[in-house]
């Protein structure tokens, strides 16, 4: 069997490789080329050199959206993971109704980002109106925290499931050995549980960081970047640049921003993966 796989590996690899090439590698390379062009459709692209990149790096709205996304990612990643881990800890304690709680916490993840965005827009605006505060569309601070609340609401359940799986995979012997060694609950958490759930932490941080930077539909539905692009994340800024303006140069600018965005997400994710993977242990 193994010999046959070794001999005929191209046949096994070919379907996936073809799909990956057509669906990802070719569009990516074409996108890379187009980021140096002016175009309206991909057939009539004309070479524009590095002007698109120069524009992107000097576009204040783009720079603002980078800092907005970075801030949003840091806050949302911290909150989502701390809360998800705390809930996972609570729901792995053999208390009654854990399955019900797990399902309830996971449910928001089944609702699409756009729908959630509009639901939370209504909820938050109602609350702000009752408190006689400015609505989301005119207050960037409320917009930022609104997005944080929305993302926490959507993502905590998902991350909780990953943390629960990680916590449940820790052999009970480790915890019992720690209890006999003299560890209290906090010491068991910090010195035994957390080091042993590092693989889950790696995955959850990776997902939270990439989701934070890639935030789009929730951003579009909740604030649409208002007021005046102040609550606009990177993805929404790219979308606005590409589709929101008329003229061949805007497509090129948008494409250049998309390439920068892609590189940025890859670099940050790799740094994060490297940092947390080094702390993972094999049981």
């Amino acid at each position: 069997m193994e010999k046959a796989i070794k001999k005929y590996w191209p046949i096994f690899v070919l379907p996936t490789l073809a799909a990956f090439s057509i669906g990802f590698i070719y569009p990516f390379l074409q996108g890379l080329y187009l980021s140096f062009c002016k175009f309206i459709t991909i057939d009539n692209a004309t070479w524009n050199g590095i002007k698109n990149y120069l524009y992107a790096f000097t576009d204040e709205a783009f720079l603002h959206s980078f800092f907005f996304s970075a801030g949003f990612t840091i806050v949302s990643t911290l909150l989502i993971n701390v809360i998800a881990f705390a809930i996972a800890l609570a729901l792995t304690r053999n208390i009654k109704g854990t399955n019900l709680f797990r399902s309830v916490y996971f449910l928001p993840n089944l609702i699409g980002g756009i729908v959630l965005g509009y639901i939370w827009q209504i909820l938050i605006n109602c609350a702000l109106a009752l408190l006689e505060k400015p609505l989301l569309a005119v207050n960037p601070t409320f917009g930022f925290w609104g997005l944080i609340i929305l993302m926490c609401w959507q993502q905590i359940g998902y991350m909780m499931i990953i943390y629960i799986a990680g916590l449940q995979s820790i052999p009970s012997d480790y915890l019992e050995a720690a209890r006999i060694d003299g560890a209290n609950e906090w010491q068991i958490l910090t010195k035994v549980k957390i080091p042993n759930v590092m693989p889950s932490i790696t995955i959850c941080l990776f997902l939270s960081v990439t989701n934070g930077f890639k935030l789009f539909d929730q951003n579009l539905a909740l604030t649409a970047g208002e007021p005046g692009h102040m609550t606009e994340g990177l993805a929404l800024n790219i979308y606005d640049t590409f589709y929101g303006r008329v003229g061949p140069q805007w497509k090129g600018y948008g494409q250049a921003k998309a390439v920068i965005f892609c590189v940025l997400v890859i670099v940050i994710s790799l740094i994060q993966l490297r940092a947390t993977r080094s702390k993972e242990v094999q049981q």
């Binding site: 480790y174 019992e176 209890r179 006999i180 060694d181 560890a183 010491q187 702390k279």
Partner: protein, 372 residues
């Protein structure tokens, strides 16, 4: 003083069985383990031996009764405050810590000074020959080395009680024999109370000062290895201790002048044990260890019976001879250990002689020992 006392200890779980009754794992346990003693809890799977050990450790709540370590009632005392150390079947070494850290962890939590920690860890590592591995992580060690680290982690704490839960069951046969003698030597060196759980009767026989034989949460016999082997209190203990296990054959007690005779398989085994007086004319079960059956010609005995050899297993120095008898209370094939020079083969018809001084007699109904 680190004696351990169980007074009517009960362990029950909240979950219920098919009849709707609470699941009781240990119904009523009474046991005294003396200071500095090496006691082995032994029994088949599900007999409650690990639960008993975990109650001593504080990892299982005591549902009823009183459990003392020394003079202190420990029913509600946290594991960390019981002055115990435990070696787990899976070793339970923290995978993210080095061997040194694993051994030092308990001491660090107890805020022991660094110099003292280093001294104790290095001393334990020297005794257990772990010095070259102190900077390694558990995954970089062999099974035997991991086991020694687990022992070292317990040792450095100088606990009053050492608890060992089937610590050798993940090792291969050769390593197990080696570690057995290491643990026994460790007990001598440390002079601490050891409570050791195993289902392997060879481990129990070779290591324990006393052995506690358990079944269904009940203690059947607590005694020295020699007494357990020579004077089992019932058929369960007789069958559990000894490998291959004791043969049981139905027999009838008859009066033979002033004495008695045990009649089975056409032979009469004379006995002058007064305990048999109440059983004259009644059926009993005779227990004969495989090594107390001998091939004709190599042993002098007036009692014997013919057998047809169902199977002969050559074990090197001896042959395990399997045969059937008519009165067969446990329905198992009987077995005799015959020196290999006797040259017995499958399908042979031979005569086996009984060492009449080593016959055990059990009550057929209660299965309790009548005499040995």
């Amino acid at each position: 003083m680190a004696n351990i006392t169980f007074k009517h200890v009960v362990k029950a779980y909240d979950s219920r069985d098919k009849k709707g009754e609470k699941i009781v794992v240990v119904p009523d346990l009474n046991l005294e383990i003396y200071d500095k003693e090496f006691v082995v809890l032994v029994g088949p799977s599900g007999c409650g031996k690990s639960t008993t050990l975990r109650m001593i450790a504080g990892l299982e709540d005591v549902s009823g009764g009183e459990l003392y370590i020394g003079d202190r009632l420990v029913n509600d005392v946290e594991p960390k405050d019981r002055d115990i150390a435990m070696v787990f079947q899976s070793y339970a070494l923290y995978p993210h810590m080095t061997v040194y850290k694993n051994m030092a962890f308990g001491l660090e939590l107890r805020k022991t000074p660094k110099e003292e920690i280093e001294k104790r860890v290095l001393e334990a590592a020297r005794i257990l020959e772990l010095e070259p591995y102190l900077k390694r992580k558990p995954k970089e060690l062999s099974g035997g080395q991991r086991q020694r680290v687990a022992l070292g982690r317990a040792m450095v704490r100088n606990p009053a009680v050492f608890l060992l839960d089937e610590p050798l069951s993940n090792l291969d046969a050769k390593l197990r024999t080696e570690m057995r003698s290491q643990i026994a030597a460790l007990h001598k060196r440390l002079q601490t109370t050891f409570v050791y759980v195993t289902h392997d009767q060879t481990e129990a026989m070779t290591m324990g000062d006393r052995i506690v034989v358990m079944k269904d949460g009940n203690i059947h016999q607590v005694d020295t290895p020699q007494n357990l082997y020579n004077q089992p209190c019932n058929m369960f203990v007789a069958s559990f201790i000894g490998s291959p296990q004791m043969n049981f054959i139905d027999a009838k007690v008859e009066k033979d002048g002033d004495a008695y005779a045990l009649c089975f398989e056409g032979c009469r085994v004379p006995s002058n044990k007064a305990e048999l007086a109440d059983y004259v004319g009644k059926e009993v079960v005779v227990g004969i260890r495989p090594e107390d059956l001998h091939a004709e010609g190599s042993f002098n005995s007036s009692c014997g019976f013919p057998i047809h050899v169902e199977m002969a297993e050559m074990m090197g120095s001896e042959i395990y001879v399997y045969f059937n008898v008519n009165g067969n209370p446990d329905g198992k094939k009987k077995i005799a250990r015959i020196p290999s020079r006797e040259n017995i083969h499958s399908d042979d018809d031979v005569r086996l002689l009984i060492d009449v001084n080593r016959v055990h007699v059990f009550d057929k109904e209660t299965q309790a020992a009548i005499c040995h």
